[in-house]
Amino acid sequence: MRTNITVKIGGEAGQGIQTIGSLLAEVCHSAGLFTFSIDDFESRIRGGHSFNLLRISNEQLIAPGHIPDILVAIDQRTMNLNKATLLPDSLVILNAENKSDSNADIDENSCSEADLEGCKSDNVLRISLNRLAKEAGGLITANTVAAGCIFAVLGTPFDMLKELLVKKFKAKGESVINLNITAAQKGYEAAGTVRYHKQFDWKPTKTDRIVISGAKAAGLGALASDCRFFPFYPMSPATGVIASVVPYSGKLPIVVEQAEDEIAAVNMAIGASFAGVRSMTSTSGGGFCLMTEGLGIAAMTETPLVIVDSQRPGPATGLPTRTAQPDLLFVINASQDDFPRFVLAPGTPSETFESVKKAFYLSEKYQVPAIIMLDQFLATSQVTQQNFFKVDKDVERFILNEDNLKASDSLSQSPDTYKRYSITDSGISPRALPCMGNIMVRVTGNEHNEKGEISEDAKNKVNMSNKRNSKLAAMKKEMELPEIIYPKEADNQFFLTGWGSSKGPIIEAYEILKLDERAKERGINFGYIIFKDIWPMDAESLKPLIANKKLIMVEQNSNCQMGKLITQETGIIYHASILKIDGRPFYAQYIVDKALETIS
C-alpha cells in the first residue's frame, strides 16, 4: 500500500532548515523510501522565512507535497503561515522555548501557545530545541535535535539515524559524531511516544537509487558528454548547475571559470568550443539576455554551444529564488534574425541528464546552439530516482581529423582551400579545428562564403541562409514527440498539457483526476501531453496527434507560452489554461482543482 507523508520544516534562513531536510532525506533513502524535497527561501542569507518541504513515500514520487502531514515550526512565522491550512490530523512539532528561562541563548522567535491560536490540528508536540541542543553539548546541534524528534514521530528506528550520523560526520571525528548522536537522541526522546498516525516500514534497504537535483543532473550530464569547460557568471537559480561539477575538478579534466559577466561567459564557451573543447554555460533569464548576442555568433559561425537557462520569475530581477517557466518564447526567438537551434525542456533530473547529453550531441552534429530549459523548481528539488548515470564509452564529435580531412571533398590540393562552410545537402559542413593540421579554419560572424571570407554578395547570402536553415528538416526529426497519454478514446476528454518541470505534478494530477468523482459524474475524461523536446517543432507530425484534442495548458507563466507556440506552429488553439505565476511550484492538487474549475 502506498504511504505518503509530507514534512514541512520552517524557520529563518541560516537556521539550517535545509540541513534538517537533507538529513531526513538521507535516512529515508537508506531505508529504501522515496523522497521529493523542495527548498523555499528568500533572496537573503540570514533571517526571513524559509522552509523545506519533504515528501516521503514508499513508492516513486514525481511531484512535491503541499499541505504538511507533519509541520516542524522552528519559528513563529512558520506557525503563523501554516496554521490555517493544516489538516486536523496533521502533527505539529513546535520549537517552544520557555522564554522566562534565564538563558541568554533562548530563541526569541520560538513559538508560544499564542501562536497556536487558529491551528486546526490538536496534535502538538512542544520541544525546546536550544535547550536540548545545549544539553547535548552545543547550540550548533539544534538541527540534529529537531531531526531526532521528527524521526521519532515518523517511527524511524533510532539505529538507522545513528548509522547515518556516523557516516555523515566520519570525516569530522569521533567527538562530532558523538555530539550529534547525543543531540539526535535528545530530540528523539523528547517526542516521547508521540507517533504520526501513518507509518512506514523502516528497515535498512540497499537500492540502485539516488537522490538528486536537476542542477546536479545537468552538471553530470555535461561531464558524461565530455564537457570540459564551464565558464559562468553566478546567478540564481543557475549557479547550482556549475556548482555541481566543481567537486569533479581535479578528478576529471575540466576547467570551471567564473567570467566577468554573462557576455564573457558565453563568448568564452564559444571560443573553447571553436578550439575543440565541449563547453557549457548556465544562467537564468537576465543573464540569458546578455547571452543572446553570443547565441547569434555561435549560429553564424556554426560553432556548437550548449546553454542552460534555469528560469525564475521576472521581469528583470523579479523573484530571484523562485520558480517559473516564462522564458520559452524568448529563448526560441532570441537574437537578431532567425536561425536553427535546439530547445530542450526535461521534466525530471533523469531526463535532465539525458537532455544535456542530447544537447551536446545535437549541437555538435548540427553545429547549432542547444539550450536546455530548467527552472528553480527542477534545478533545486531533490528527488529519489533510479540511478541514471549512463556514460557512453565514447562521444561522437563530428569533427574532421587529419585523415578524413584529406579524404574530404572540401579539401582539394592546397591546404588553404578547406571550406569551413561548404554547401552540402544536409546543410552541415565539415568542421575542422584550428591549428590542428595544414589547413586553416576561418570563421566570421559576418555573412561569409564557403571559405569563411566576408561576403556581401546577394546570392551568397541566400545560399548561406538556406544552407543553415536546411538543417531544420533533419533537426525536427531528432525531436521526440510529446508524451500523450489517456486511458481510452472518449468524448469530453481534456488533456493537461505542459512542458519541462511541470511534468511530474501534471501526471500526478492526471492520476488523481482519473479517480475523481466529480469528473466521473460529469462524464469527463482526462489525459495529458508533455513536451520535452520543444524546438524545432515537428508540426507535421504533431498536428495529427493533437488535432481535435482539447488542450488545457498547464504552465508557469502568464501568457501561456507553450500554448502560443502550439498555435503558431499548428494553428491549433488550446481550449483553456492553468497558469501559475506566484513563483511557487505546481503541486498536483492545485492542477486538479483548477482543471475541475476550468471544465465546469
Binding site: 564557451a269 555568433i297 565514447d394
Partner: protein, 281 residues
Amino acid sequence: MVEPKDYDNDFENKWCPGCGNFLIQKAMKQTFAELNIPPEKILFVSGIGQGGKTPHFMKGNLFHCLHGRALAVATGAKIANHDLNIVVNSGDGDCYGEGGNHFLAAIRRNIDITLLVHNNQVYGLTKGQASPTSALGMVTKLQKHGVTSSPFNPLATALGSGAGFAARGFSGEPEQLKELIKQAMNYRGFALVDILQPCVSFNKINTHQWYKDRVYDIQSIGHDPSDLAKAIMLSLEWGERIPTGLFYQKESTPFHSRIGVLQDRTLISYPFDGEKTAAVF
C-alpha cells in the same frame, strides 16, 4: 623558414589607401616570419571594426567575432588549447569601448595571448564617431560640439590593473612595432600592444605627421621596463610628446599555469574515458 609573404592571401583588401593598418599588418607578418610561425599555426581572434578585419586580409586560422568580444573568445580558445598561438586584433572602440570589461578581466586573468589594439582614436568602420581614446573636444559628425569625455588611457589602466606586459607602438615606426609585437608574442602572459594608427578617412587630428612629430622611443632614452612606477608616470604623458616602446614587463604566471589540470597538458588533449567518468560520479 617562414617568410612574411607566406601570410599573403588573395582576399580583397578593404581598407582605405594610406590607412595605418597596412603597416601594422606588415609588422605582424614580419614578426611571425621572424618567429618562424607558419600561418596554419596561428589563431587570429578579432573583433568588429577596421582593425578587426586585419586577419581577413592574410592567412591564418581565424575567429572574427562580435564587436567587443574578441578577448572573451580568445580566452575560451586558449583555455581549451593553450598550445595555440593566439593574436587578437582589436580596435580602440572594440577593445576599450564595447569590450572594456573584457579588457579589464583579461589583464586580471593573465591569459597568455597577444593583444594588438589598432588605436586610431576614432570609430573607423562606422564612419567616424568618437572612440574612447578620442581627444577631449574632438569634433565629429556625431560629436558636433566636441567630445566631452576625457580619453581612456589604455596603458595607465592596464598598469593600474596589474598588467604584466604593456607596450605602445606606432604604425609609422614599423621596426619598433615589429619588435614590440615580437616581445609580446614571446611574453608568457597577457601582452598588450596599443598601436597608434592614423585613420586617413576620419581622424583629421591624429594624423601620421601629428604622431611623427610627437612620438619618442622610451627605450632609446633608457627606460627600464621593470620599473612600474616610472612606467605609470610615462603612461600619463600625452601631448607634445608621446612615449612609445615597452613600458612595462614583469615575469608572471599565465592563467593556464595557475590551473592544475592544465599544468601537464592542454585541456583538449586529454582522452575521454567514459568509464573513468562514470566511476567518479
